[in-house]
């Protein structure tokens, strides 16, 4: 694939998802687009690109974008954020809000392991929070992974990464060769297709937002825009969970990093989005 084609494809992906395909990631284009080219009846990726250049095809452009998203995830990934939720965030939240609904959003929830991990954790902790009810929303740009997430079906390989076997026994049913989360856990999570590039404020307000290992794919202005939009959807001191390699530093002053809990940020009290100069 020549440099022009790589740049052309990178722009398609960037325009739709905000994902920046760096030169080092260009090698992924070949391996991920080859199956699409084959499926659509092209002899090669080069053929696919030249056809696309000649005739705008939004459906194809989205297929390409979808193929370039990263869906790597597993149950209780990195563990620490879930410990932080359990040991710090929930008790603190309870001190502030003893009754009512707590809304949690997993932004870029991929195939659903993160929101379902939270649902299992909340199930374990529920007796400590009798006045609170929890509502979890998962969104992802890819319809394909949203559908998989909704099904709650996972392969034997997927349920063995990060999930203790006691949780497998407690929360899953075996369905043929797959494992499916029980209805009481599935019903706690609502999945929707959603693009972080778009205005997602219609999702409502959230007390807790998980946005882990997502911002790393975006450029600085996009990161700042997404973080500030999230801030408008949270109450003062709402909680934002970022991935281990991510930070709000240098992007926005809408969040404070938590002194004792790494990777958890709180929405600055009274913060409002600065007006454009």
């Amino acid at each position: 694939m020549n440099k022009d084609d790589i740049e052309y494809l990178a722009k398609i992906v960037y325009d739709r998802s905000g994902i920046v395909l760096t030169q080092e990631k260009a090698y992924l284009l070949e391996s991920r687009l080859a199956p699409i080219a084959r499926k659509e009846g092209f002899n090669s990726i080069d053929d696919l690109v030249s056809t696309l250049r000649g005739r705008a095809d939004e459906k194809m452009a989205w297929q390409i974008t979808d193929a370039m998203t990263t869906n790597e995830t597993f149950f209780f990934r990195d563990k620490t954020p879930f410990d932080n939720l359990k040991n710090h965030v929930l008790p603190e939240l309870k001190a502030r809000k003893s009754a009512g609904k707590v809304r949690i959003w997993c932004a870029a929830s991929s195939t659903g392991q993160e929101p379902y991990s939270i649902a299992m954790l909340l199930n374990e902790e529920a007796s400590k929070y009798p006045g609170l009810s929890f509502e979890i929303t998962g969104t992802d740009i890819s319809n394909r992974v949203v559908e998989k997430a909704k099904s709650g079906l996972y392969s034997q390989f997927e349920v063995q990464r990060g999930l203790p076997v006691t949780s497998l026994v407690k929360y899953f049913d075996k369905v043929d060769d797959m494992w499916q989360l029980k209805p009481n856990i599935r019903s706690q999570v609502t999945f929707k297709q959603g693009n972080l590039q778009d205005d997602f404020t219609s999702l409502g307000k959230f007390d807790i937002i998980f946005c882990r290992n997502v911002l790393i794919y975006f450029d600085q202005p996009t990161k700042a825009k997404i973080l500030e939009r999230m801030a408008t959807m949270m109450p003062d001191n709402g909680y934002l969970f970022l991935g281990a390699a991510e930070t709000v530093m240098g992007l926005t002053d809408a969040f404070n990093s938590s002194r004792e809990v790494r990777g958890v940020y709180t929405r600055q009290a009274g913060w409002t989005r600065a007006k454009a100069a």
């Binding site: 563990k79 063995q160 203790p164 076997v165 026994v169």
Partner: protein, 121 residues
């Protein structure tokens, strides 16, 4: 260095498991069935046992039951590693004192993830 007893009647599986666990800095002993494993444990209790289910002479579940009756036999972390992948087997293993459960086929990622669950890595 932590020790692990790999119990499986397949020499190939023992070799694969040994390679993965040695990379994770375990010292490996091997046994080809439950009886050999029990003898090994009576000599010296390992920190962990990676345990197949279906084996000649003494199967994995019978070994586990016997192990837990031995002096100091409550100490080793026991992780089943078997093709038995239904809830009945898993439940039975847990009720008899298994700490974790791996459904074959396995790879390094799964072994490492399960060791993390039991606090060994």
């Amino acid at each position: 260095m932590r020790s692990c007893l790999v119990v499986d009647d397949s020499r190939v599986i023992r070799k694969v498991a040994r390679r993965i666990l040695e990379d994770l800095e375990f010292k490996i002993e091997e046994a080809a069935d439950g009886m050999e494993a029990l003898t090994a444990c009576r000599g010296q209790m390992p920190d962990m046992v990676l345990l197949d289910w279906n084996m000649p002479v003494m199967n994995g579940l019978d070994f586990l039951k016997a192990l837990r009756q031995e002096p100091g036999g409550d100490k080793p972390v026991v992780i089943f590693c078997t093709t038995e992948n239904d809830l009945d087997h898993i439940t039975q293993a847990l009720e008899n004192g298994a700490n974790e459960y791996i459904m074959k086929p396995f790879d390094g990622d799964i072994i490492e993830a399960k060791l993390a669950e039991v606090g060994l890595v």
